[in-house]
Amino acid sequence: MAVETRPDVGLPQGVGRLTIRWKAFLLVALAVLGFGLFAYGYEQANGMSVTSLRSTGTMGGATWGLYIVMVEYFIGVSLAGVAIAAVSRVFRIIELRPIARIAELLTVASLMVGLIAVIIDLGQPIRGIKNMLLYARPQSAFFGTFTLVAGGVFLTALAYLFLGGRRDAAKLAEIPSRLQWFHRLWASGYTDSAEERDRHRRVMFWLSVGIVPLIVIALSTEGLVFGVQVGRPGWFGSLQGPDFLVLAAASGLANLLILSAIIRRALGDWNRIDAEVFKWLGRFLLVAASAALYFMIVELFTLLYATPSNERLLADALLKGTYAWIFWLSIGLMTLGLALLISQAAASKWRIGTLVVASVAISTAAVAERYLTVIPSQTHANLLPYEPGSYFPNWVEFSVVAGLFAFGALLIGLFMKAFPIIPMTDALILQDDGVEATNA
C-alpha cells in the first residue's frame, strides 16, 4: 500500500495542519454562525414575531418564508452531491472520481443544514422533534421529509461517506498523528483484503443503485409538500415534483462546482481536481440548467396566459408586481449561467473561472426560484379575496440563514482538516485483475 506522503508533513492534503488561512476561515465562519445563533436565540426568546413572517390571509403575510425557501434549496442541493457520487460509481466515470467525496460531503452538509432549517422554522422546535417521533402521520407530506430525507437519504449519504473513506482511513491510520485515533476508528479494521474490496464494491454498487430512486422519491415528496395543496393556486399541480428535482439538480451541481473550485484553490499543491472534472460538471450543469430554464419558461408562458382569477393575481405579482424583480432576476441569472455554459460547450473550452461565475448565477437563480415557489402563492394566491400582502425577510432571518451557511461551510472546513477531501484511492475503480490504481 503506497501511501502518498511528504517528508515534511505527516498527513496528506493538509489534514491536521491548521494554516493561517484556515484559521481565518474558521474565525469568520464561527463569527457568522455565532451571529446566526444570536439571531435565533433572539427569535426564540421573543417569538417568530421578530421575523417578517406573518399569517396569510387577513394579515397579508407569508407564514413560510426564507427558512422554508432555504430548506427547499439545501435539500435540493444535497441531491446533486450524492447523485454525482453514485452516478460516477455506477457508470464508472473515472474523471469525476476526485470529487466523489466532496459530493458526498456536500450532500451530508447541505442535508444537515436543510434539516436544521426545518427545525428552525417550527414554532415549537423541541416539541417538533419529540412529536414527530411519537406521532408523525404518513398522510402528511412531512412524513417523507422526516423519514425518507432525514432518515433515508441522510443516513445513506453518511454510510456512503463512511464506507468510501475506509480505505483512505486505513492508510492514514498508519501515520502517527493527533488524528490517528479518528482514522483508526473510521478504518474500523479495514485491511484492504480482496474480500473487503469485493464486499465494498458490492455494497457501494447496491447503495448507489438504491440511493438514486430514494433521492428521487424523497425529494419529490419535498415538491409534494407544495404540490398537494389544493387551496393554493401556484402550488397545486403534478409538476411540483419534477420541477423540484430539476432545480435541485441544477443548484446542486452548481454548488458542487463552486465547492470543487474553492477546494481546488485551498488544496494548492495537493490539488488533484483537474480541468476534466470541471468539464464533466459543466456538461451536467448545462443539461440541468437547460431543463430548469425550460421549466421556468413554461411557467412564464403559463403566467402570461393566466385567466382573470387567482392565477392572474399571482401572475401580475410575479411579472410586474411585488415579486417581479425576483422573478426577472431568476430568469436573467439562469439565462446568463446557461449562456456561459453553452458558449463554453460550443467552444469546447471549459474555463474554471467562467464555470464558477455560471454556477453562482445558477445557484442564485435557484434560491430566487425557490423563493418564488414558496412565497407569492401565500401572499397573492389566496382563494378567498383577501387583499394581497407582501413578504421580504428581515435581518433575523437573513442572519439565521447566514449562520446555516456558515455551519455548512464549517462542517466541510473541519472535515478537510480531519480527512483527505480527495480520495487517495478508490476501491471501486480497482479492477478484479488486481491492477491498483492510485492517485497521482
Partner: protein, 247 residues
C-alpha cells in the same frame, strides 16, 4: 350521529363584526388572530357599485385539507364534525395554514400575553388588584379544560407561543349545550348553529326552505358551513375596511 354545522345568512349579515369581537373575548385569542373574520367588499365602479359582506369562520370541512397535512395529528376531525387543534400537540409547522383554502388558521407569533392587545398595560398594579394579574383580564378558565372523548386541549386560543389555532365552533360552549360565541351575539341572527343531522335542530329548520351554497365548493373540502343569499366571492371584489394587523 351529530354533525355540527353553521349557516350564514348573507341576506341578514350587517358586516358589523360583532361575531369577531365576541369570538376574541370568548376564546381569549390574541390580536389580529381572527378566528371569525368578516369580509367587507366593494365591487364595480360608481355608480354601479355593489357592496357585500362575508363572514368566514372555519368551515369545519368533512374533507379537511388541514387535517390531512398535519404531520403530528394535532389537527383532527371529531365524529361530531368539529375540526379541532390540540394546542399541546402542535409543533408549529404551519402546514395546515397553507393547506387551508379559506385562510382560517392563525399562528401565535409571540408569547400570548404580548399579543393580548398590549398597548394597554394589563399588568398595571391597580388592575392586578382586581384581576389577579390575569392576561387578558377577561381570561376564560373554560379554555384550560380538556374536551371531548379524546380529552385533548382544544378549546380557546392564545395558549402558547409557536402553535397554530383556529375557530373551534366554541367546543367548550357546544359541550355545555351553548351556541358558539359568534352565533350567540349576532345582532341579526345571521349565524345559525346546530346539528345538521338532527331535523329538529335550528340549523336544519333554517336550511329547510332555503338554497344554501358553500364556500369554494370546487376545492372539494366539503365544508360544514352553509351560506344563504349573496353570492360566492370572486376576484373582482375589493376588500375594504380591513382590520389593522398588529403582531
Amino acid at each position: 350521529m351529530t354533525k355540527y354545522s353553521m349557516a350564514v345568512d348573507l341576506d341578514r349579515c350587517q358586516g358589523c363584526r360583532a361575531c369577531m369581537t365576541a369570538c376574541t373575548i370568548e376564546n381569549n385569542t390574541v390580536q389580529s388572530n381572527h378566528w371569525m373574520y368578516v369580509f367587507r367588499f366593494e365591487e364595480g365602479t360608481f355608480p354601479e357599485t355593489e357592496m357585500s359582506f362575508l363572514p368566514r369562520p372555519c368551515q369545519h370541512c368533512d374533507n379537511a385539507p388541514c387535517v390531512k397535512v398535519c404531520p403530528v395529528g394535532s389537527r383532527f376531525k371529531r365524529e361530531d364534525g368539529l375540526v379541532l387543534t390540540d394546542a399541546d400537540r402542535c409543533i408549529g409547522c404551519r402546514y395546515c395554514e397553507l393547506a387551508c383554502p379559506y385562510g382560517v388558521n392563525y399562528f401565535n407569533w409571540q408569547k400570548p400575553e404580548k399579543g393580548q392587545y398590549d398597548v394597554v398595560d394589563w399588568k398595571d398594579d391597580d388592575l392586578e388588584a382586581v384581576t389577579g394579574g390575569l392576561i387578558p383580564p377577561y381570561r376564560n378558565p373554560d379554555l384550560d379544560e380538556l374536551y371531548g372523548e379524546e380529552q385533548r386541549h382544544t378549546a380557546g386560543g392564545g395558549h402558547a407561543k409557536g402553535v397554530i389555532e383556529k375557530c373551534t365552533f366554541c367546543v367548550h360552549r357546544v359541550e355545555k349545550g351553548l351556541e358558539p360565541a359568534c352565533a350567540d351575539t349576532c345582532p341579526t341572527n345571521a349565524l345559525v348553529f346546530g346539528d345538521i343531522d338532527d331535523p329538529e335542530s335550528p340549523i336544519s329548520a333554517y336550511l329547510k326552505d332555503r338554497s344554501p351554497w358553500q364556500l369554494l365548493d370546487e376545492a372539494g373540502t366539503k365544508p360544514n358551513v352553509y351560506y344563504i343569499g349573496g353570492k360566492p366571492p370572486n376576484k373582482e371584489l375589493k376588500e375594504i375596511e380591513r382590520p389593522k394587523a398588529t403582531v
